[in-house]
Amino acid sequence: MKRKKKSYAKYGYLFCAPFVIAWLIFSLYPTIFTVLLSLTDFKGLGKVVFNFLDNPLQNFETILKNPSFKTAFKNTVVMWVLNFIPQISLALLLAAWFTDARYKIKGAGFFKVIFYMPNIITAATIAILFNKFFGYPMGPVNDIFTTLGWAEKPIQFLQDKTVAKGVVIFVQFWMWYGNTMIVLISGVLGISPEIFEAAEVDGASRLQTFFRITIPNLKTILLYTLVTSLIGGLQMFDIPRLFLNGGPDNGTLTTSLFIYNQAFSGSYMYNRASAASMIMFVVICGASAVLFFIMRDKDEAELAKLVRKQEKEYRKKMKEMQKGGTN
């Protein structure tokens, strides 16, 4: 009996089908819907009808001119930058300490567990906790200030924009440096130990080793950390929302919080919220594109490049041959 080799290709489609269906319903459709809504006059609670605007980009213009959105965008970027710089610096320093065999850190496992801990705790809880810490008149911080005589009477910390921003920045830093540190440690451990040994034999100092060997070899991971942190930072919501709900005077307002407020708290401006979402979508896609470029398979990319090159040469040759033929 002749038997054809059974093809299993259809199972490939079947096994990937749930993912695709869920993605179409819960990701693609909402994305398209959001784009459409950003071009309409859709607002108000419980409404279902909407019309496309005569000037389709009107919502975008409104949002880009909106002073609150500008403030929110500026805050988001400022708060991300000011938390990321100390975060990555400290994480790098700690990673260098933890991975250098010469130090033989005792209790390294314990310290890693403790430094990472804040990351696992619900951000909503932490936001409220820090709100209470800076409470007036008798939060713990005021307790310290008055007890130590730094202030004569309790201070209304949270009515100060700079202090409020500073606390949000600190909380972000505090929650994430442990995570970044562990990522960087695994990066350093991935560097071939021979390079470090060679550096030691050559008499390189610790600083030299750190700046000349560790950091250049961590480039990809540093870039990865940068982009993932940026994408996360651009969506900062839980902490500013529950810490002071964007206040005081929009001092901690972020773009995500702005979008939430436009759509869900009182005004129900779904069209404008959609437009603001799309603006952020473009910004985040830009950042993602960079990450995608870094993360794609290096060998594969090189192979594709080689293939393209060969094809080009082949075509060139063909052309030359044709030319030669006509001559």
Binding site: F26, A124, V183
Partner: protein
């Protein structure tokens, strides 16, 4: 001699820094736990104390006497988080299996597509998502928080990286010869092999879902459906304004389970964070 002295100074610097960071990590939670046992009056006198008092039950009575219901929040969060984790892990592994094991026409393109959509945040498309859910009247339905997890590109990516070296095609081939159906092979042979990867991803998926505030805040309007993070946000409300001890207790109740679970699983979690960053 000199180098020895500098290295001693450096070692002191290192351990002092570690000590400071350790205090920084523990002190806020310690303060929170201690204050949850103190009365509002005590906290108003001195908000910082290292020793617990004995007003725990009193605070609990005030806390649960108002809108904060930790047991309900806990149950709801558990339903959502378990559902999300199961959906995300099972279907992501299935998708990775479909890409790794079977040879079909567009599988390369499909995987590139997964990489491309990996970083697109759900938050950005929330308005469209909300309107879609609202128009079919499912806003207070937990399924709307759980089912989107079926398409979790990040987990598919991770599972594929793990599957390629650990799942041998010969095993699958021999199971086929024994007459096993494809789904059976996946459930009974592939999934058990993937156990270590599943465990790591399960922890992160669960914690992410447990801590999620944004989506539940938008979808859940019914108080009986509130998950833990929304329940926590009630503590910021006016009704708890002067009940300092109760607020600290409410926060403690949401943090303690996480800390306990973390201390048990910390080894896996730390290893998982490190693994996630090493790109295969």
């Amino acid at each position: 001699m000199k180098s020895k002295r500098t290295s001693l100074a450096l070692m002191i610097t290192i351990y002092v820094s570690f000590a400071i960071l350790t205090v920084l990590s523990i002190f806020p939670f310690w303060l929170m736990i201690v204050n949850s046992t103190r009365s509002t009056y005590e906290i108003q006198q001195h908000a910082i104390s290292l020793v617990p008092s004995n007003f725990l039950m009193n605070n609990l009575a005030i806390l649960t006497g108002k809108s904060f219901n930790p047991i309900l929040g806990f149950t709801n969060s558990l339903i959502v988080s378990v559902g999300t984790t199961v959906c995300a892990l099972y279907f992501s592994t299935m998708t990775a299996y479909g890409v790794v094991v079977y040879d079909w026409k567009y599988r390369r393109q499909f995987f590139s597509f997964i990489l491309a959509v990996m970083m697109i945040p759900a938050q950005i498309t929330m308005i469209g998502f909300y309107q879609m859910v609202y128009s079919v009247g499912l806003t207070n339905n937990f399924l709307m928080l759980i089912l989107p997890a079926i398409a979790s590109p990040t987990i598919v990516f991770f599972m594929r990286q793990y599957m390629i070296p650990s799942l041998s095609l010969e095993i699958i081939q021999s199971a086929r010869i024994d007459g096993a159906k494809e789904l059976y092979i996946f459930n009974r042979i592939a999934l058990p092999i993937m156990k270590p990867a599943l465990a790591t991803q399960a922890i992160f998926c669960f914690v992410t879902s447990w801590n999620n505030l944004f989506t539940p805040l938008i979808l859940l309007t019914n108080q009986d459906k509130y998950t833990m993070p929304i329940m926590v946000s009630l503590l910021n409300g006016d009704i708890y304004k002067t009940e300092y001890g109760s607020v600290y207790l409410g926060l403690t109740l949401t943090v303690l389970p996480l800390i306990i679970v973390y201390l048990f699983l910390s080894k896996f979690i730390i290893a998982g964070v490190a693994l996630g960053s090493v790109k295969g």
